[in-house]
Symmetry: C2
Subunit: 361 residues, 2 copies
DNA sequence: TTGTAAGCGTTATCAG
DNA sequence: CTGATAACGCTTACAA
């Protein structure tokens, strides 16, 4: 059947070749900017002009097929609705674009991680960025033959980037201690997300180092959401001995706590100091603004992408496709943690009545 | 050169064929679930088993090359950091996944739209979802040969999905009028984003219909951000005749206004009623919670994806690739607007002192 | 320096 | 019903 009259069907390298009066591979040579491509500058010129005139764009799919590389990165996030993850994706996308890679976005949802990875593999994805995938035993074989970078979920098996979550907890503790707080609380989810765990640990340890402990009834577990934070704070406020300050594992929780206090007429920060973690944009939306520990989400994504691209190109150059199995690759793997930063705003102050001595010096 | 010892190199359809003792095309027939593929159930079984045993996954890239379809959708958003867009992407991704398409995410940033589309085209993207691209004259030729769906930016040239932005403005107006407000203000950006424009128009018209006008000094322009909202509200509060209520073009602005009031000790809603638009998650984070008009962002994305897929498959089935030029395709194009919904929460009430008559009935 | 030949892994169109 | 055979558009030796 004669192909239906199709508008200017995309020009191929053959068309360019014809127009330039050269062979098709020559076109490829000229345009692929292959280092060892020595073509007479005369013909190069002709080819370039022909390509220009035809508006030629190499077909990435065809290139992928023969090179066995798609120049695409998969990015897997639990939930785009979470500002933090959206930022990570944004950072990754920027770098990917700079490096000439496309980003194939996949939201985790309910689907099993294994299927998702499989789908990406079918597309010859060059590597994937895995964002805070619950440490739940990943089959490991699921990663077979894939270049992987983990975000905020260190693993001795695969390279990754993470923020200094323990440091975040420590900063919060030191800040609160310095203000004179001694009766402290912590609110965090019970899931096994590494970053949350470390924030808690950092907080508790820094306190311990100062001789302060968090009474178990002041250590509340709650889902990392607004509602979780509200509920936890209500429980805290109902305690016979209220804490004077609380550190929340993320800003959502902190904002929930903030809301609970406001709703119950508990003055922030006079009666209750609150410290969050992440520094999402909305930390500044409430009154008083939330004191929090800033985590560079975008930067996290950017580094992950950079690392992944390096990994890919190393693997690609060397042993062909089957890479990604061994961990750090060339050993250049320094699991350096991205620094976090305390951002003091309006939700923290010295405790109201007693205890206002000590670290104040 | 002998290929470097590579771990279980992905099985191809040839491998499956060999193992099943059939020809390669047969494998393709069996696995592509082609409707008119009548293969003896005996061989079908064998093929399926062989594929299973080898863990065979068809190479989507190869398929794309010959079918001239990538089964991938491009999604272009201005800024993932904006909760609203993130939701649109999320909705689109869900549907795309259901329909067997991957999502290639691109953030607009500074890059010219034209380049971005070109990059997508090079990847043989089957279509793109364009999210609130500023109505700034898009070269039109940039869309050549692409299936496009516009989100929240109606165009007579291309199909799209949008929310009932004008209705949103109307709902806000009616709500405020019903509460007895007569001295009203509007805050919105000056950019030519269609949805914002329509929200404003709906608001103003509904008021006009009730014989109420928005004095020009109570119509504030401000970037659609927290800061913009704050600044606008401060200006409003400084007016000799303060409005008793304000409608903001989106929740970010409303939250900014909220914050300005709280900071200045203006009681919400007693002294100032505020209505936002979008109903992002954070509308419930503040105290009192924000009254707003809910816009189904996720649903918007979902519909866009659905529409795009339909468009693609129609084009693919019919006239081959060159589609997307004419607008609605099969004319099934009903630019139905997604309904919005008023969500009354804590930031609206009857005005304090006078004027509390009228629509209250 | 440039052209020829041979794939990459599929799908599609035929004969057998 | 199944098996050759020919693309799809490009890269990469290898020859001329």
């Amino acid at each position: 059947m004669p192909r239906p009259a199709r508008l200017p069907a995309r020009a191929t390298s053959h068309d360019v070749a014809a127009r330039a009066g050269v062979s098709q591979p020559t076109v490829s040579l000229v345009l692929s900017s292959n280092p060892k491509a020595r073509v007479a500058s005369a013909t190069r010129e002709r080819v370039l002009r022909a390509a220009e005139e035809l508006g030629y764009r190499p077909n990435v799919i065809a290139r992928s097929l023969v090179r066995r590389r798609s120049y695409a990165l998969g990015v897997l996030v639990p939930d785009l609705g979470n500002q933090f993850f959206a930022d990570v994706v944004s950072g990754a996308e920027r770098v990917a674009a700079e490096e000439g890679y496309a980003v194939v976005l996949t939201e985790q949802r309910d689907a099993p991680l294994e299927r998702q990875l499989d789908a990406l593999r079918a597309r010859q994805i060059d590597g994937v960025i895995l964002d805070a995938a619950g440490a739940s035993a990943v089959p490991a074989a699921a990663f077979d033959g894939l270049n992987v970078v983990l975000v905020d979920r260190p693993s001795n098996g695969w390279p990754g980037v993470a923020s200094d979550a323990e440091g975040a907890g420590r900063l919060a503790a030191e800040h609160l201690l310095a203000l004179g707080h001694r009766r402290l609380a912590f609110v965090g989810p019970s899931t096994d997300v590494h970053a949350f765990r470390m924030r808690e640990r950092g907080f508790v340890r820094a306190l311990a180092a100062a001789g302060v402990t968090v009474a178990s009834e002041r250590l509340r577990r709650a889902p990392a959401t607004l509602e979780g934070g509200q509920a936890a704070m209500r429980a805290l406020l109902a305690l016979p001995e209220r804490p004077t300050a609380v550190f929340c594992a993320n800003d959502l929780l902190a904002l929930g706590a903030h809301k609970a206090c406001t709703g119950l007429g508990v003055a922030i920060p006079r009666e209750m100091s609150i410290v969050g973690c992440d520094d999402i944009a909305f930390a500044r939306f409430v009154t008083p603004e939330l004191t929090t520990v800033a985590v560079p989400a975008r930067e996290l994504g950017a580094r992950a992408a950079r690392l992944l691209v390096r990994e890919i190109e190393a693997a690609g150059a060397g042993a062909g496709a089957g890479a990604g199995v061994r961990a750090a690759g060339a050993g250049s793997q320094k699991p350096r943690l991205l620094p976090v930063k305390l951002v003091v705003r309006g939700t923290t102050a010295a405790p109201a009545a007693p205890a206002a001595r000590g670290a104040a010096r």
